[in-house]
């Protein structure tokens, strides 16, 4: 039940107490208040504002940025269907429409009785077990018509989420191929003990020797990053783990955190030793809310085992602890400077760079931001040595890469390979047939056609953050690109003009093509937008927003040509569609309610 005024006050006070009234934790407080109250009411903001002595504009500005925070009532049950292309291929939109009909609610709106709202959200990282959805931010996988029927019944009967069948919320790891990282069976503390024996300086040297590069996509040398942070002047240093795994089609960090959380936290602790940090933060994407209790329990166990806290493993002065921060639905927070802004309780807008986080990161202090997989790999280096690690993979790409495989294949899930594996090998392993294309590294990555399947996953050929989405010959690659373009438009932070407006213009152009109004003119427009997005945008989101379109135009042109029905420019505006709202209002769909070319005035 949504609480009354007293309940709201209690929820606000509890959130304030949990974070000791520190305004940097405003995003966490807002999230917790919503969990307790179903939304963030003006009264909740009143109380928060008085306690924190913040201007109301600041709190509303933050709350308004994150897709999962609601400053208007959104119902007791807030359903968000994951809308990645892989969910689409599994029929998510049909299920969404079906659910809307069953519950008598319009998509995107809150039901009249304030009970439920149903909408879509960006990829929730369950691509190997979709279609997926979130209910009040908790993930439900393998949604079927039957499951929707059951959920509708639970919602109508107002059954509390805690009493819903547990199997709805079961998330499988589906590890299909293990290599040195996923197959590692060392005990918690082993890597730390080895690192302490080497000393902080020796550890950094090992990491440098290993040639380990960041697994989040950019591929910066981890050892150099740690060394730069260590040498940067500052009053305090911070370790940040980027677990805001938002790139559609990527879900490896989800499994690492579910099954190998110790390795991730131990990697962060290694980094703390190397750079002299006292505090670490793991930024967990809001879609992985269900992992929070598990991660907190692992942290608690590590504290008891002297692997966290004061004097780690008995080493005087080695004091370090980790806190989990939860995101709230913002892909752009995967960009490291936006992530730091979000950690500081602000809107997730990427910063002007330089300065980079290694010199001025969290609270303006030197900060290392690394990906979940990078930290886990550091444990291997610490324990088995940099030279050994450098020997795995290819010359320019040391180690292994975990791929999140989804789409048209028999065995979706995680595949860990040494760098240098070909796309074809992965396709064979996952049981993909009649493959038309593979989207590597998500919408911001690259789309490969069959002729390129001999290429290798490696920094020197196809670098990737991990997504590997397979499309067979039955798929329409235009629809794939259109889905990705909608994703970028939804996730643009809105800070800079080219990305804020450009991604929406691009979405409109793709919709125009889809609606049968495309001409060569629109092709030229797409190219022009691409140039502006690449050269003028503030961050990587804008730089890469055109990639899916350009790739698919270059490699799957027939999918576009089918849609270019006109030689000459056609406007996107259509007289018959303009009548659609009137048809909806009057409930008519007869010939008289349509405008057909030639039946009335000139078109």
């Amino acid at each position: 039940m949504t609480p009354g005024p007293q309940g709201v006050a209690q929820a606000v006070d509890a959130a304030l107490a949990r974070h000791r009234g520190d305004a940097h934790y405003i995003l966490q407080m807002l999230r917790e208040i919503q969990e307790a109250c179903d939304w963030i009411s003006p009264e909740a903001i009143d109380r928060l504002q008085q306690a924190l002595r913040l201007p109301r504009t600041k709190i509303e500005g933050v709350a308004g940025f994150y897709a999962f925070l609601y400053t208007r009532p959104r119902g007791q049950y807030r359903i968000l269907f994951s809308d990645n292309i892989t969910d689409r291929m599994l029929g998510n939109l049909e299920l969404l429409d079906y659910m809307c009909r069953q519950l008598w609610v319009e998509r995107g709106k809150t039901s009249e009785d304030a009970l439920v709202s149903i909408d879509t959200t960006s990829c929730t990282g369950m691509c190997d077990q979709g279609p997926a959805l979130l209910v009040n931010n908790y993930a439900i996988t393998r949604v079927s018509r039957q499951r929707v029927d059951e959920m509708c019944e639970l919602i109508r009967n107002k059954v509390a989420l805690a009493a819903w069948p547990r199997e709805y919320f079961r998330v499988e790891d589906q590890v299909r191929r293990k290599d040195v990282l996923l197959g590692d069976d060392s005990a918690p503390g082993d890597a730390l003990a080895a690192a302490i024996a080497r000393g902080a300086h020796g550890l950094v040297e090992e990491i440098k020797l290993s040639n380990l590069r960041g697994r989040g996509g950019a591929g910066f040398a981890t050892g150099l990053k740690w060394e730069a942070c260590r040498n940067a002047p500052g009053e305090a240093r911070y370790v940040v783990c980027n677990a805001d795994e938002g790139e559609p089609g990527t879900f490896k960090d989800r499994v690492l955190l579910a099954a190998h959380a110790d390795m991730v936290f131990e990697g962060m602790t290694l980094c703390a030793l190397a750079i002299g940090a006292g505090k670490g933060m793991l930024y967990l994407r809001g879609e992985y809310r269900y992992l929070l209790d598990h991660l907190d329990a692992v942290l608690e166990r590590r504290r008891r085992a002297k692997l966290l806290g004061a004097g780690i493993l008995g080493l005087p002065g080695f004091d370090f602890d980790i806190a989990i921060h939860l995101g709230a639905g913002a892909y752009v927070c995967g960009e490291e400077s936006a992530l730091i802004e979000s950690l500081e309780g602000k809107r997730g807008t990427p910063r002007n760079r330089p300065p980079y986080p290694v010199t001025q990161g969290y609270l303006g202090q030197p900060t290392v931001v690394n990906n979940v997989e990078t930290f886990a790999a550091c444990c291997l280096v610490a324990r088995r040595g940099g030279a050994w690690y450098a020997g795995v993979g290819t010359g320019a790409s040391a180690g292994t890469k975990i791929l999140s495989v989804s789409g048209d294949c028999a065995r979706p899930g995680l595949y860990e390979y040494p760098y240098g594996v070909t796309v074809q090998e992965v396709l064979q392993a996952c049981g993909a047939n009649e493959t038309q294309a593979v989207q590597v590294s998500g919408p911001s990555g690259v789309c490969l056609a069959a002729a390129e399947f001999g290429r290798r996953i490696a920094f020197e050929d196809i670098p990737t953050a991990g997504a590997f989405m397979v499309f067979d010959r039955s798929r329409d690659m235009f629809e794939v690109a259109r889905n990705f373009v909608h994703f970028f438009a939804h996730e643009s932070c809105g800070f800079c003009t080219p990305c804020r407006v450009g991604t929406s213009l691009l979405r409109n152009l793709m919709d125009k093509l889809n609606n049968g109004h495309g001409s060569l003119y629109d092709f030229v427009e797409i190219k022009k937008l691409n140039r502006i997005l690449q050269s003028m945008s503030h961050c990587g989101l804008g730089h890469t927003a055109c990639n899916p379109v350009l790739d698919t135009i270059a490699k799957f042109r027939p999918a576009y040509e089918r849609r270019l029905q006109h030689k000459e420019f056609k406007p996107a505006f259509d007289l018959d569609w303009a009548l659609e709202p009137a048809r909806q209002m009057t409930g008519r769909d007869d010939a008289g309610a349509h405008f057909y070319a030639g039946s009335g005035e000139d078109t």
């Binding site: 201007p55 940025f65 994150y66 002007n352 003009t497 407006v501």
Partner: protein
């Protein structure tokens, strides 16, 4: 001997810590801009001031000048892209220059003229942005907002009020005011606030005094925006 760099072939002196745009404007070289203002911390969001340095495009308001750097700004390629940015701003909001009180004093309009924009080019978004006429002295017309955040910065850093903020995300980003009701009348904003005066477009208008200067005799009617480079480099006397 002061340090200098070259912009479009002209040598410009700069002091340590100055950005490219600061030094350029002070040296009489106009670089198109909307969200930059000499009195406030640079934001780097409108991207109009993007220039080319070493083959890379960077925002000149957030990049420090360096000795000997070679900057290109007034090139056909850059001006083409800047014009497209202006077109984007025109279709994103609802800008009806002929009926706008700010016409002739508006930096968006003046920059569009400067860059030779002939039409908005793209399809208009026609967003729904209700006007806030609640305040006795100030009219807020969000239709013209370009999200430059100058009012946000001025209110926070100069007026000490935090009366404005950006809310929402992406294309739904919008300006909000510091009141539970969401109405300007319920804030402590006054006509004298720097935040009200600094708006480069026609979002914030003084009530009861329309068209005091006739169309045709306004700031950018007299001279194009590029002729005000040095004025744009120094704090304005209101």
């Amino acid at each position: 001997m002061s340090a200098s760099f070259s912009i479009d072939g002209k040598s410009v002196a700069f002091a340590e810590g100055q950005t490219i745009i600061q030094a350029a404007l002070a040296g009489g070289v106009y670089v198109p801009h909307l969200c930059y203002h000499p009195e406030f911390k640079p934001h780097g969001s409108c991207k109009l001031c993007t220039v080319m340095v070493d083959g890379r495009q960077i925002a000149s308001c957030t990049t420090l000048a360096r000795e000997g750097m070679v900057v290109e700004s007034d090139t056909a390629a850059l001006n083409d892209e800047r014009r497209t940015l202006i077109e984007m701003l025109f279709v994103e909001g609802n800008h009806f220059c002929p009926s706008c009180e700010k016409s002739g004093d508006c930096k968006l309009q003046a920059t569009a003229y400067e860059l030779g924009m002939m039409s908005a080019h793209f399809d208009h978004f026609f967003p729904r942005r209700p006007v806030d006429a609640s305040h006795p002295d100030v009219l807020l017309d969000f239709n013209r907002c370009i999200l430059c955040s100058l009012c946000v910065r001025a209110s926070r850093d100069f007026d000490g009020k935090n009366a404005f903020a950006l809310c929402g995300r992406g294309i739904h980003t919008h300006l909000i005011v510091n009141a539970k009701s969401g109405r300007l009348a319920d804030t402590d904003v006054t006509l004298q606030d720097k935040a009200v005066q600094v708006c480069p477009v026609g979002v914030m208008l003084r009530k009861d005094k329309g068209f005091a200067v006739p169309i045709g005799k306004r700031v950018y009617d007299l001279k194009p925006v590029s002729a005000y480079a040095e004025a744009a480099a120094a704090p304005q006397k209101e």
